[in-house]
């Protein structure tokens, strides 16, 4: 973030760009904070949408229009719709979604701390230098300034959005990664189908997700489905589960226990 800010300020002193950077950066951080503190799961999901949109704005200020619109199309347009459908599938105000096991909490905190540490290291650690930011081709510059080309320059005159650049790179240098992504998506689909079919075989039971340990097979299936649909949310929330600040909204019906006993899972 710091690096981006410095890069934005160094870049030709474009005040509009710097202003936009701060607007989007504050929006992104604010929505991320709101996402992990809100108790209403659909509100939290919408905050994630806002977060994705502000990240798209950041890409735009960094002269990568193609990446920016893809961010909107795939993340805000497709992945969040999938999340919302999964939320609907599980029932919105299900208390089960707001509780988590102690082990899960510990794991979440540990994972979050690890991720935060890695990110911090990446941004301010010794690996960060002008060369790491600008690539090996960048001309050597004084240590405290970034003298490298912007993305628009790298893309060239006739490709301002970078779409041709991405296409050329993806279909020459990253062929295998590209084809592997197809495999990954295929496996994901097959997994989803298998989970959904198992769910289908179980008799329709409205209460099976409500945490009541009913018939083991059914309950497990529902829980498995929940896990299959939701891991990305959990990852997006990082280890900040513990940072739950009660944000009781009037229309929320409050879970029976004290707020501390309940926590959002995803």
């Amino acid at each position: 973030m710091m690096l981006l800010a410095q890069a934005a300020e160094a870049g030709a002193g474009n005040t509009a760009e710097v202003l936009l950077f701060w607007v989007f950066a504050v929006l992104a951080l604010g929505s991320a904070l709101a996402l992990i503190t809100m108790r209403n799961i659909v509100h939290a999901a919408l905050m994630l949408v806002l977060n994705f949109l502000s990240i798209a704005g950041l890409y735009l200020t960094l002269e990568s229009a193609f990446l920016s619109i893809i961010q909107v199309l795939v993340y805000a347009g497709a992945i969040m719709v999938l999340f919302l459908f999964v939320i609907m599938l599980l029932g919105v105000d299900n208390d089960d979604l707001l509780t988590s096991e102690p082990t899960a909490r510990v794991l979440a905190v540990a994972g979050g701390a690890l991720l935060a540490g890695a990110l911090l290291f990446a941004f301010v650690g010794p690996a960060t230098s002008p060369a790491s930011v600008c690539g090996p081709d960048a001309p050597a510059a004084a240590p405290d300034q970034f003298d490298c080309r912007g993305l628009a320059e790298a893309y060239g005159e006739d490709d301002p959005s970078g779409v041709a650049f991405v296409g050329r790179t993806m279909f020459t240098r990253y062929t295998y990664a590209f084809e592997l992504s197809a495999l990954l998506l295929t496996v994901a689909t097959i997994g989803a189908v298998i989970l959904a079919r198992r769910q289908d075989l179980a008799p329709e039971d409205e209460d099976e997700v409500d945490g009541v340990p009913g018939a083991p097979a059914d309950g497990d299936d529902a829980a498995a489905l929940a896990r299959a649909g939701l891991p990305a949310t959990e990852r997006a929330e990082g280890g900040e589960h513990h940072a739950e600040v009660g944000d009781p909204e009037p229309e929320d019906h409050e879970p029976s226990g004290s707020p501390d006993d309940h926590e959002r899972r995803g």
């Binding site: 936009l20 599938l89 779409v163 991405v166 296409g167 062929t175 998506l185 689909t189």
Partner: protein, 119 residues
């Protein structure tokens, strides 16, 4: 580069002003006479019975959303390829055909397992 988005921002401002303005004006000049029946959920004139808070939806919708995500990513991959595929030539076409073929397996599998049967 960013300046070409300025008119878009203006259009956005106009749209927001229009939409919010209409709602505000309407709330100022419109009557407001609430009564319990009016404020209840609409169930074709019956007394509202259904509790939708814990309603759970058919897993079909989840399957549709999953397929949508997969195909959306496919579309997103097709676009950069479509822009440069003249340069890439037959090699690029082969790659894309393979990509679509692999995803086609997923698609056929889901269809074959009845993932999109609405019954």
């Amino acid at each position: 580069m960013l300046s070409e988005y300025l008119p878009v921002l203006l259009l956005f401002g106009l749209a927001v002003a229009f939409a919010v303005g209409s709602l505000v004006v309407s709330s100022l000049v419109g009557p407001r006479v609430p009564n319990p029946t009016k404020l209840a959920a609409y169930e074709s004139g019956n007394i509202p019975l259904a509790d939708v808070r814990n309603t759970r939806f058919s897993v079909k919708f989840y399957m549709v959303a999953m397929l949508f995500l997969i195909f959306d990513i496919e579309v997103v991959f097709i676009y950069p390829w479509a822009v440069v595929f003249r340069e890439l030539g037959w090699f690029g076409l082969g790659q894309m055909a393979l990509f679509i073929g692999i995803l086609g397996v997923a698609f056929v599998y889901e269809i074959g397992r009845g993932g999109l049967e609405w019954d």
